[in-house]
């Protein structure tokens, strides 16, 4: 899906003028863009367009962006970037918990948005010749195939959750700060929003931990960050 040829973007934005201008700007950045004003149409279009990234405004008439994320997450791990009103509002947390991978706040510059998209589409870091398959306890992580099994049962992770897991599993026992994870997975600098890491970590734990409330695989090191228990 992230081959060097054109990446496809599904753009869901009800403001027609913003949609057209964004479509033009993203096409200038080399993406193929399919735009639609409603989440309902977005869901239909998703099947046909098979986008690599979804961009969605959270405030839409009818089905809102949060609901869209929840529905889409049942079947797909595609990166979703939401467009929110305010970065300091509860909307960000709600959206991330609904399944969004990242967010931008209006007004934004398309270059900034393009950078976010590029980061989410980045391939998994392959360190100096690591094993193609990492094994952590009863977890098997097939880095190339992008698959995770827990006790031989497939676990469905989103693309971002998978990359997060690979970062941690690549160096078992090493503590990663939120800043480091933000940089490696989302491409943010020191000032990235730490909530991205926290919410994704929570979601990842519900999928790979025997008891997500008392994590034993990915543990929090207070004041420092996260590490995977080798």
């Amino acid at each position: 899906m992230s081959n060097s040829s054109t990446n496809r973007i599904l753009l869901i934005e009800d403001d027609e003028r913003i949609r057209s201008s964004m479509q033009m700007a993203l096409e200038d950045e080399g993406y193929e863009v399919a735009g639609t004003p409603t989440a309902e149409e977005g869901l239909e279009l998703f099947a046909a367009a098979t986008p690599d990234v979804v961009l969605i405004d959270v405030f839409l008439p009818g089905m809102d962006g949060f609901e869209f994320c929840r529905l889409l997450r049942r079947t797909s791990g595609v990166p979703i970037i939401m467009v929110t009103a305010r970065s300091d509002s509860q909307d960000v947390i709600t959206g991330l918990e609904a399944g969004a991978d990242d967010y931008v706040t209006k007004p934004f510059v398309t270059k900034e948005l393009a950078a976010r998209i590029r980061s989410l589409l980045r391939r998994v870091h392959t360190h100096e010749g690591p094993p193609a398959t990492l094994v952590i306890g009863d977890l098997e992580i097939a880095q190339e195939a992008g698959e995770v099994r827990r006790a031989s049962q497939p676990v469905h992770l989103t693309r971002t959750e998978f990359r997060l897991l690979c970062e941690l599993a690549g160096s078992p026992g090493r503590v990663f700060s939120r800043e480091q994870l933000l940089e490696r997975v989302w491409g943010y600098d020191y000032f990235g929003d730490g909530r991205l890491v926290d919410v994704h970590m929570r979601r990842l734990r519900t999928k790979i931990e025997p008891d997500p409330a008392n994590p034993v695989v990915v543990v929090t090191v207070r004041g420092l960050g996260y590490k995977i228990v080798p």
Binding site: D15, M22, M24, R86, D88, Q90, F108, F191
Partner: protein
């Protein structure tokens, strides 16, 4: 002379009142007790003397009376001395008592045929003498009563009353102090609340604990509420306007970017116009961002994290992209923990650096210093400094210290420094500007460090 405070005055009034009242009461009590005791003592003495006199009178009528025996048979009570003047001689049962013991006035009066009494002092001892002329015998009978015991009792009474008056005065002083403190407590509470509100804690309210002060509390609270409502309305208006502007601004910005992408295809004049448009759209965007930030700062959600202040400062400076000045981090800050919203902190540093770059000839030095349990972030510049009278207003919204210079720079939103102040306040700190010893000014943000967890 400075007028005394309410507390001192109330306390003094209570003490003075207690003093006057207790002295009057003590004086009345002493006077009444003294006169009544003296009166009853003297009438008892008088009766005793008259009885003795009638016995002597009867004894003298007998033939050949033996005067000493007669006097001795009287059986006068202790502390009283009988004296008899008979046929030019003076007799007494007491050795020392002679006619000179008696005051001459009394002596004359009685020997000339009357009955009389007199209080007098002899050798510093108060005495009471009763004299009776014994008609038909030419004799005069006197009896002298010592009043030393009575006076001693009265002295004790006097000292007791005086001490009681003193104690009452002290008590009045204490009660006055306590009462004035009680009365002034709501006033102090009000002053504290007013100070808190002036300091920006607008949700401060007075509790109407006392029925008499309920009016004050109610009107105070409604004043604060009106103020808060008004401020909220203003903030919401700015926030609403900014929100409404975001959508068209997104379109404009994105469209400008599409045009910039094709700049080479445009005729020279259009390209020039596009550049103007770009710059202004960027500035407009910054203004909207600042407005949103400042109008949402009340009740804003702080994304607080525990960070290393020195590291954070270095990251902030790196993020500004401005170089060519030293950044000094106090070694005493190693291990220090600052609870900060990194994004807001970054805005603080970025705005201060930008301010120095745009208006003050550039940053000359940035430092982070530990002062007690706080960290001071200082940004120094090479500018002309900020005049004394502008040092506070410079942090006001849209304050234009030197208007011409600021507009010439063309990028400032007029909100940069007030955002710095706002963010510093949200971190429990504050900001000020001072002169550098050599030249230029120094903006200092002081933030409290958090005590490391144990």
């Amino acid at each position: 002379m400075r007028r005394l405070g309410i507390r001192a005055r109330v306390t003094a009034a209570f003490a003075l009142g207690a003093l006057v009242l207790s002295v009057i009461l003590a004086a009345i009590t002493y006077t009444l007790v003294r006169s009544e005791t003296l009166r009853s003592e003297q009438s008892t003495d008088q009766r005793q003397a008259f009885v003795a006199a009638s016995l002597i009178h009867a004894g003298l009528r007998a033939s050949n009376p033996d005067i000493p025996v007669l006097l001795g048979s009287l059986g006068v009570p202790a502390g009283s001395i009988p004296i008899l003047a008979y046929q030019g001689s003076w007799y007494s049962t007491s050795l020392g008592a002679v006619r000179d013991s008696l005051p001459p006035g009394l002596r004359r009066l009685v020997t000339s045929g009357s009955a009389a009494t007199q209080r007098f002092e002899l050798n510093g001892i108060p005495n009471f003498a009763v004299g009776v002329h014994l008609a038909g015998t030419g004799a005069s009978y006197f009896e002298v009563f010592s009043m030393a015991n009575l006076h001693h009792t009265l002295d004790i009474l006097f000292f007791s009353l005086a001490s009681a008056a003193g104690a009452t005065t002290l008590g009045g002083l204490g009660v006055g102090r306590w009462a004035s403190q009680r009365v002034l407590a709501p006033l102090r509470e009000t002053a504290r609340a007013a100070a808190a509100i002036a300091g920006g804690r607008l949700d401060t309210r007075l509790v109407a604990g006392d029925a008499d002060l309920a009016d004050l509390a109610t009107s105070f609270n409604s004043m604060v509420e009106a103020l808060q409502r008004r401020m909220r309305r203003d903030a919401r208006f700015a926030s609403d306007v900014s929100h409404e502007l975001r959508s068209p601004l997104t379109t404009i910005q994105t469209a400008v970017q599409v045009m910039q992408h094709r700049r080479e295809e445009l005729p020279a004049r259009s390209a020039q116009a596009l550049d103007l448009l770009s710059v202004e759209v960027d500035r407009f965007e910054r203004l909207i961002q600042d407005l949103l930030e400042i109008s949402s700062s009340e009740g804003a959600r702080m994304a607080l994290e525990e960070v290393d202040p020195g590291e954070l400062l270095l990251q902030c400076i790196a993020a500004t992209g401005v170089t060519g000045f030293p950044v000094d981090v106090d070694p005493a800050l190693s291990g220090a923990v600052l609870k900060a919203d990194k994004r807001r902190f970054e805005r603080v540093v970025a705005n201060l650096v930008e301010n120095a770059q745009m208006h003050a000839g550039g940053v000359t030095r940035v430092s982070a210093t530990r002062i007690g349990n706080s960290v001071q972030i200082a940004v120094e510049d090479a500018g002309p400094g900020v005049p004394e009278n502008e040092r506070q207003v410079i942090f006001d919204r849209f304050a234009r210290g030197s208007a011409a210079r600021r507009r010439a720079a063309g990028r400032g939103t007029g909100l940069g420094l007030s955002l710095v102040e706002e963010h510093a306040r949200l971190h429990g700190g504050h900001v000020w500007v001072e002169d550098r010893p050599s030249a230029g000014s120094r903006f200092v943000v002081e933030l409290p460090l958090s005590t490391p967890d144990t």
